[in-house]
Symmetry: C2
Subunit: 252 residues, 2 copies
């Protein structure tokens, strides 16, 4: 049985303040928890119901696992349909950026993305297309937010998120900067280089002025209909897909 | 002042049963309501607060407009931050399909999409890329669901939605059928024809077996990372974008 203090500690991690204070975040669901266990992330504790534990044949011995009753589990879960397993995982401390590695890739930079669902979808989609690093402005929604973690469907375990002041970062990167803007060269006529930073802006305001000034290539997604804008996760998808296409068809 | 009966009538339209019974759905927000007013949709009634009405200079005279108090408006709005304007709009009765028109286009067919946010994003993105018709299986979430309408950001006013039994529909269409599947030819190596049906499947189960049997081209989105799947709105985006690219670069 979990104590009141344990329950209140776990649920407090649904709030950024307490995640930051304790350096822990929550992952729920069998598939997602297993993906984090088999990733570079460090698992603090796994809470599981006896029923779910019987389905988890491959839980490594070194993992601290606490079995809870169904009713206690409902108290710690934030899902409407709890899956009987929840892990507390250490938020990675942001090590120094390995520039040599970063400069050989396409990476994504997010300028103040606010919606957890959008950030989760961006992480999941970027990971599908092999993107390994996402740099977020300090004002971007917390990637360890429970809603973001759920929306990534486990992909967060395979993408490194970095929160940083974007302007010094992009200046220091010395990489080619592609900005997603409403005015620019068509993405379908843009020959992407082998490496570069794809910069996506805030849902309402787009990329901030100071960052636009640094951009090397203003790239736009041609509009055929009359919609005023595209959702930012949709726009990021189109960038990831077009770069993948150019790579796979040997254009870059 | 709105009567209790009026308020309960309007809020009842948040439920599919009552939308179907009265043939009406709800649109909220200045921009979205104006887009529907200037579309082929028939407006039943517009409810607005006095403050919002002053911002609406271009409301056509023929439209029945009822001014409400701020407190009444909060009772009829389903938004957490009500924008002071809400329209009741007639759900179009599905006329006979104009095959001559349909067969000259790319259209989308949705096989049991369940999530309102996904359907809303699909409608908004498809409209950006000039898609004019979306055919939904009977089991697909209702496009006149308030959450779907909000997620389309007004694009629903410019795309025709049809609910139909998909198997007889695709058979009768005699169009080339492209199915989004996990196994198939890479989308980047698929030469799309000038017209065709893009078929997208349910979030959990994909395209149903009976429909897969009818498909002419199994098309897949190449995976570079390790994510198990892509969100269906993201996958639809990649299809719309790639077809647009092939059209705009004169490949088709």
């Amino acid at each position: 049985m979990l104590s009141k203090a344990q329950i209140s500690f776990i649920t407090s991690l649904q709030h950024k303040k307490f995640r930051k204070q304790h350096g822990l975040f929550i992952v729920e669901g069998i598939k997602s928890v297993l993906e984090f266990i088999h990733s570079a992330y460090v698992i603090d504790t796994v809470y599981t119901t006896a029923e779910t534990l019987t389905k988890m044949s491959n839980l490594p011995h070194k993992i601290k696992c606490i079995t809870t009753s169904e009713s206690d589990f409902k108290k710690i879960s934030s899902l409407t349909s709890p899956q009987g397993i929840l892990a507390l995982i250490k938020i990675p401390t942001d090590d120094a950026v390995n520039w040599e590695e970063i400069r050989q890739q396409h990476i994504i930079a997010l300028d103040n993305i606010q919606d957890p669902g959008n950030l989760g979808t961006i992480i999941r989609t970027a990971e599908w297309f092999g993107i390994k690093h996402i740099f977020c402005s300090i004002g971007t929604v917390d990637a360890y937010n429970t809603k973001v973690v759920q929306a990534t469907m486990g992909s967060l375990s395979r993408v490194q998120l970095h929160y940083t002041d974007l302007i010094p970062f992009i200046k220091q990167s010395k990489m080619t900067l592609y900005g997603a803007l409403l005015e620019g060269k068509s993405i379908y006529q843009t020959n992407f280089q082998k490496t570069g930073v794809i910069i996506m802006g805030n849902e309402g305001n787009g990329i901030s002025k100071e960052i636009i000034e640094q951009i090397n290539h203003a790239v736009t997604i041609p509009r055929i209909g009359e919609a005023e804008s595209l959702n930012v996760a949709v726009a990021t998808t189109i960038f990831c897909s077009e770069i993948a296409r150019q790579k796979l068809t040997n254009n870059i």
